[in-house]
Every structure is written in structure tokens, then in C-alpha cells.
């Protein structure tokens, strides 16, 4: 069984089709990268999976059972799906610790919260900044804090929207390692990224989107050699 199945997904804004009968499947424990030029529909895909956008048609099944297109964002999140947004979105009014506390989600028993937060703080390396308001963090720190927030709920499906956008090489490397550490047999990770090197470093498989459709699916090497992919990225 697969962790996530996207089946015939179509999303339209007015006349423009952001996703056009898109289908793909991600296995548990897999790290899947979705790449493609601007406007290919990458972020829209995450919007649909996390419930922010409702599709015109198609389904998004989580673990073969739950159709995410029928339930609210909150319900999706409670089902074990977490998303890290492209633009780091943390709660500036709250401290790092409080952000993580909220990241734990509404279910987690207050008793367990403290240790979970401590663990995540360690994982994303923000221990010294725990009491600082998130609004005061540096860009990279915000990125990690947000990753921490989505980790704090121990998600089954992790959606990462350009996690290294605007990061220095060092920070990018750290993020790659971090994502490596996040791999788990019971967790699928879906990454959207432009940075090919980064994708190669982390992804098992890549899906190349173009104008809302799948252009290529398979290994990164294969993608580099695929003619259409090259045309879309380099051509014209």
C-alpha cells in the first residue's frame, strides 16, 4: 500500500488549469521530490493535499483509506499530514517554544508536550533561542523553526515547499542532513524544490511537473537525461 495516492487531480483558477488530471503515488518511507518550472502546479499540488485548495475533480488518498479532498485542513493535519510553507510561516507574536507547543497539535497530552518540544528543539538546533519571539529570528532560523513545528506532531506525511529557498550553501547542507534524519519507514516526505543538487541529495524519486501534468517520473539521473525535461528546463 502507498502512503499517498493522488488520482486524476484537476484544479482550475478561472479558465487556467493549475493541475490537469494529475496522478502520482508515494510509498511509505519514501522521499519524493517534485520539480518543475514556475507555474507547473507544484505549490497547488501541496495546497490540495493540505486542504487549502479544493480540486474541481480527483481524489487524494492518504493510506488508501482517507480522501483528503473531502475534509478540512484541520482534519487533514490531525490525520498526520504536516506542511512546511515556502515562505517561512511561523507565529511572530509567540516565542520559539510556544510555536513548537502549538506545532504539537491539539491532541497531544500536555504531559508529553514538554519532552517533545525539548526533543524538537534539539533536532532543529534552536535550544539557545527557545525564549525568543519567532518574529525576531533570522530567515534560516525561521525555516528550521517551521520544520520543527511540523515535526513536533510526528507526521506520517511531510510536505516541504522549497525548504532551502534563499538559504546559504551551509544552511542548505544542514537542511539536507536534517531531512535525511527525518526519514522513517512509516513516514513519507514530499519535497518541492528548484535546487537540483539538493534534490539529488535527498530524493529517492523525482516527479517532474509541467503545466499541471506529469512530464517524467523516476530517478534523478533519468530526469537529467530525459529529452522533454531538458527542453522544459533549458529549452526555448
Amino acid at each position: 500500500m502507498s502512503a499517498l495516492v493522488v488520482d486524476g487531480l484537476t484544479v482550475a483558477f478561472g479558465r487556467f488549469r493549475a493541475l490537469d488530471a494529475l496522478s502520482l503515488a508515494v510509498d511509505p518511507g519514501e522521499v519524493r521530490a517534485v520539480i518543475g518550472p514556475n507555474g507547473a502546479g507544484k505549490t497547488t499540488l501541496l495546497d490540495v493535499i493540505s486542504g487549502i485548495t479544493k480540486p474541481v475533480s480527483g481524489r487524494v488518498m492518504l493510506g488508501d483509506r482517507l480522501d483528503l479532498t473531502r475534509i478540512s485542513e484541520a482534519a487533514i493535519a490531525r490525520a498526520g499530514v504536516r506542511r512546511k510553507f515556502q515562505k517561512p510561516s511561523v507565529f511572530p507574536a509567540l516565542t520559539v517554544r510556544e510555536n513548537l507547543a502549538i506545532g504539537c497539535g491539539p491532541e497531544l497530552a500536555p504531559g508529553l508536550r514538554a519532552e517533545r518540544i525539548a526533543a524538537v528543539l534539539g533536532e532543529v538546533g534552536l535550544n539557545p533561542r527557545a525564549a525568543v519571539p519567532a518574529g525576531a529570528l533570522a530567515h534560516g532560523e525561521k525555516q528550521w523553526l517551521e520544520i520543527g513545528m511540523v515535526l513536533a506532531a510526528e507526521p506520517r506525511l511531510l510536505l516541504l515547499d522549497e525548504p532551502v529557498a534563499g538559504l546559504s550553501d551551509a544552511e542548505t547542507r544542514r537542511t539536507a542532513e536534517l531531512i535525511g534524519r527525518l526519514r522513517r519507514p512509516d513516514r513519507a516526505i514530499l519535497v518541492i524544490e528548484h535546487d537540483m543538487g539538493f534534490v539529488e541529495a535527498i530524493a529517492d524519486k523525482v516527479t517532474v511537473l509541467h503545466e499541471g501534468r506529469t512530464l517524467y517520473e523516476g530517478g534523478m539521473r533519468g530526469a537529467r537525461e530525459d529529452a522533454r525535461v531538458i527542453e522544459v528546463f533549458l529549452g526555448r
Binding site: 483558477f13 478561472g14 493549475a18 497547488t44 495546497d47 487549502i52 485548495t53
Partner: protein, 539 residues
Amino acid sequence: MNRVRAVLAALAMLALPALPAAAAPLERAALAADLCGDAAAQARGAEGVVRAAADASAEDLRAAGHLLAALAERRLACGSAGALLLDRAGAPDGQDALTGATRPAAEARAPVLGLRQRALVETARAAVALLTAESVAARAAGLTTLERRAGAVPDAVLERARDAESDPGLRASIAGAAQAAALSSADPEKRRTAVAAVAAAPSGASLARLRALRGEPAAASDPAFARALDAGIASVERAVRIGDGLAILYNALSFASILFMAAVGLAIIFGLMGVINLAQGEFIMLGAYATWGVQEAFRHVAPGLLDLYLIAAIPVAFGATALVGIAVEALVLRHLYRRPLMSLLATWAVSLFLVNLVRVAVGTQNLQFAMPPYVSGGVPLYADFVVTWNRLFAILFAAATLALTLVVLRRTPLGLDIRAVTQNRDMAACLGLPTRRIDRLAFGLGSGLAGLAGVALCPIYSVNPGMGSGFVIDAFMVVVLGGVGSLAGTLVAALGIGGANVLIEPLSGAVAAKVIVLVGIILFLQRRPEGLFAARRRR
């Protein structure tokens, strides 16, 4: 003195029983005396003129007309030395009603007409006008008045008028009136034609007249007449129903056009920058005051062209309010684009300021507007449906505003920019559009449109500093219902809301109508927060 004359006149009338009433002579002195007398005498005088109208000489009638007009307009001064015609009410001196000599009106009193006497005087003046007026229009006006007073006029008068009438159209309608007047004559033939004639000019009043005949023995005794009567009633009923339908449509349209003009500026501003401009109503008010300013300017500079001030005010009102709008944008809103709620409070403060500024500067009383013919009065179009010019003016004005806005948005570079920024501000900015300048100009445009609304409202509503406050919420309901940034939506919403209000009002009263409509809108927005026409955008 007057009494004596009156009594003499009365005796003179009684003394000549042989003559038919229609042949009563028109003795000016007696008439003047009557009109200066008490209510009864005034009535007698007016009725005398009507009776005499059938065969009195034209210049007698004219003279009588002058007297009656003077009385109706309080230009008739009655002193011990006899009646005086003043050229304006309260003038120090005037011409003697009989000799034409100028005399001081010092101790003379100007009698006030009671309503009943006023009606009689109107009839008499109408009869005189019909028979002696120079212009066809004046004669026609006389006829319409006489038609309203069915029965008060002897047939002879109408017949004389008909025979004397030169204008064929008018002669025909006089003939019709003459026939209609015979509704209760003895001759069944005449009566039937009368019914037809009445039915030919349908109205609630004529319906009542025909219905009244049903009860009469004539209807029972004469089956042919009864049939004609029923047919007549049926056709009039139909006509009246249609007329009322037209009236409702017209009311809805005029109300909708007012809503549209109030809302269109908001729609642009709100669509473009998501700013709720609570001062929009005050911009409308400013437009109205600008119109008033133009009128005053005409009064002093070109009194002859005064009638055109409403037209001349259009660019002025637009420009003035647009400038105020641009100033507001530059001084206040510019700093608040990322804080829509704060800009909302700011515009509220602006509106408070403007209202009180005008209040202190000009005063709170309703402004005085000269109403050119093209915005005062109306014309009965069909049955009881009257097209009132001021509302028609508003409707046409709204249509023009719509056209103008469309041209600006579709055909000018500014319009293109505005649409671009409305649809995707960031992208437009990336493409190097000066979004801030566009905002400012668009805000000016929106304010200017409000100013135009102000011009159109002058002939309809009272103009005072508070006049704008009523519009904001209705206008916003239009914008929100129509969908942000959609001109078509604004138009449709205005028509819908206006229509709904007018349709519901007769059933459940004005308040309930407003309430029902607003609640309906609120509920609708729960279903479709983005309104009727807004394109779905990516969040």
C-alpha cells in the same frame, strides 16, 4: 363698497333669468368685486367666468384671466378704490383692474384663496387658457386641467374651444374631452361614445368614473350601454394594471441607478486596493455642494444660462471630488495600504471631518436649487404611470456614468493599469507598473464618480451636510454582493437590490423591505463570500 358691488352683480345675474346660464355676461367690475369678496363671492366669480366662457368675447376672457391669475398668485390687491393688479406679490403699486391706471397698493389687502376656491379659479383659468391662450401648449395645459375637473365645465365651452381650435391634434383631444363629458347625458348614443372616449384615456380616476356608472339605472335599463360600459371598464382596468407595472419598473430602475452611482466608485477603489472608503457618502455630498457652487456662479455670472448649470456642474463636481479624493489618498491612505482596517477607521474620520467642515462653512440647512424644466415635473405616459424628469435624469446619468467608467477602464492606459493591479498587484509591480501612482489616480477616479452621483442626486434629494451618511452601507452591500472589482457585478447587484426594495415595499412597508433585502444579502454572502461576479483567485 365691495359688498355693494357684489350684491349688485348678484342681482344683475338674478334679474336675467330668461338667458340660459351659459349666456351670462362677463362684467369685469362685478368679477373684480367678487374676486375681492369673501369665499362665496370668489367662488361665484370663478364659476361665473366658466359659465360665461362659452360665448364671452375673447378680450373679456383675457381680462378675466388676468384677474384670476392675479388672485391665484396673490397679486390681486383689494382696496376701497377697487381691485389692483400688482406685477409681483407685495409690490407697492399696481394697475387698476378696470382703468389700468397705476395706483399705490398701500392699504389694500391681498386675499388668500381657500383650497375650494383655488380649485374653481384653476378651472376658470384653464377654460380661459383653452379659449384664448396664444401657444398650443398653454391651451393643451388648459384642457388637461379641465379634463381633471370632469363635469365642472359646460359642454358649450368645450364645443366652442373645439370649433375655434386651429391645431388638429389638440382639436381631436378637445373633441374627445367633449364626448367624455357627456358621460351622464340623456342621449344613450352620446353616453356610449362618452364611455368609449373615457376608456380611450385610461387612469385610476376614469376607472372610478366608469365604475360609478354601473350602479345607475341607465346601466340596468340599457343593455347596450351596460355592455359598452363593461367593455370600457375592462379595457381601463387592463391599462391601469399595465401602467402600475410600468411605474414599478420605473421606480426600481431609478432607485437602482442611484445605488449604482453611489457604489461604482467604491467598487473600483475597493477592488483595487481593498480599502473600504467610509467617506464615499461624503464625496457624494461634496459633489452636490460643488453643483450648488456652479449654480451660484451661474446666478452671478450668466443668469441667462442658469438652466444649464446642472450640465456645467458635471465636470466641476467630478474634478473637485477627484482632487479631494487624491488629497485624501496622498495624505492618509497611502500610509495604510497594508492595514485595511486602519484605513477604514481613517476614512471614517475623514467623513466626520468633511461633514463638519461643510456644516461650519456652509451651514446645515438644505441648499436651494433652481430646478431647470428638464428635471422638474413629469409627463403622464400611460394610465397612471408618470415619468418624472428628475428620476429620468438620474437614470440617464447613471447610464452615462456606466459608459464613462467602461471607457476609462477598457480604453485608456490608466484603465488597463487599474485592471492589471486589481487582478494581481504583485505581478503588476514586477512588470514595473507604478502601482502607487495607479492607486492614487484610481482613488481619484472613484471619488470623482461619487461626485457625479452628487450631481445626479441634487434634483432628487435634499442637499445638506448629512446627506451622504445614508448611502455608504447600501453602496457597500451593492459592491460586496456584486463581487469585488467587477463592474458588471456592481451593475447587476444595484439592479437586484433596487428592484427587490421597490417590489417588497408595497407589500411590507419601507423598513421591512430594507431589512429583508439586507438580511438576504448577508445570507447570500455566506454562500458566496466572493460575491456574484468575482473570478476565483488563488489564495
